[in-house]
Symmetry: C2
Subunit: 200 residues, 2 copies
């Protein structure tokens, strides 16, 4: 993958397009993911639609998952964050997961991408498919594969449901006393439930 990029002739390839090329790829990626879903889209197809070489997409972003993370402005990269979260001791897995979620959703720009995808999913089956496929493969499957439990996929989904519902009521609907509770108060109540879902 050294220096074979695209962005084409101009004087000297890659640098020319610069931010523009990167922005074009992301814009094209958003439409490709929206039209084909997360599973149906591909780095190759995104490159083709953007009129660049697939190697350039790889150069800028790496995997399809990372193209998606960048295109949707997600606040973290599941492939880096989840292994860290899962690597600690089992005894406080629930707490680590809840604290991480609170840290992301407390910031408006952290929760906005998920709220946007969720909002589209309510009215649009294609958007629902895109969100479902991404969440399933990049988040849920990754967490489930680290657990040793029967029903682990169902357990992970239900734990995610607890977190998403909490995020909505705490930060969007802002129901009291959940909205005004400290992180520690929320963790004290919710972490044991998440712990119970994710550990034997």
């Amino acid at each position: 993958m050294s220096d074979d990029g695209a962005a084409g002739a101009r004087p000297r390839g890659r640098r020319t397009g610069g931010a523009d090329t990167r922005g074009t790829i992301l814009a094209v990626a958003r439409s490709e993911f929206a039209a084909k879903g997360y599973d149906g889209a591909s780095v190759r197809g995104i490159a083709r639609a953007a009129g660049v070489d697939p190697a350039l997409v790889h150069h800028y972003f790496g995997t399809k998952e990372r193209v998606f993370v960048a295109a949707m402005a997600l606040p973290f990269e599941p492939q880096h964050v989840l292994p860290q979260l899962l690597a600690g001791p089992d005894e406080d897995l629930g707490e680590r997961v809840v604290r991480f979620f609170l840290g992301v959703w407390a910031r408006p720009e952290g929760r906005a991408p998920f709220l946007g995808m969720l909002g589209s999913a309510v009215t649009n089956e294609q958007a629902a498919a895109m969100l479902r496929e991404f969440v399933s493969s990049a988040i849920l499957a990754r967490v489930a594969s680290a657990l040793e439990l029967p029903d682990r996929e169902l357990r992970v989904a239900v734990a995610a449901a607890q977190l998403i519902g909490m995020g909505l009521l705490r930060y969007v609907v802002r129901v009291e006393p959940l909205a005004g509770a400290t992180d520690d108060e929320v963790v004290a109540l919710v972490a044991p439930a998440v712990q119970r879902y994710l550990t034997p």
Copy 2:
């Protein structure tokens, strides 16, 4: 309720407006709730804006809560349903609550009003306030008042969060295996968590 129903013959006062008056009141109620929030709106204000006597609003709907339920086409009346749910034995409170929620959200017309309000709440603070105030007073406060627990309001909010998140992932995003799981499988996993939130 014998024979004095609506539909009737036009001569004789109240009936004249019939469905039209009722529909007008509901349309006006929707704008009043949206503009003033649930707490800020009143039967009197709705009547004034609709150009009818408050007694007529009471006649058609009863309380402000029931005007809201009708205006938003909610699939159940909290004031009737919640006391029933809460009246049974404590041992299976979690299961009753989860089964009731699944029964409502499984039907598209059962979940649509909540999804609509939630979707508006994401982008619109007035809509968030309306949803927050209704959910707080008609649902959460009613459930909390039936419990004897410290932190009961926070516990009820977190239990509601579990249910709402589950509804979104099961019926809207349709993440597997949650979407395809039977009600019994979901209940087996989620009811104990809800039970733990709602009971000592």
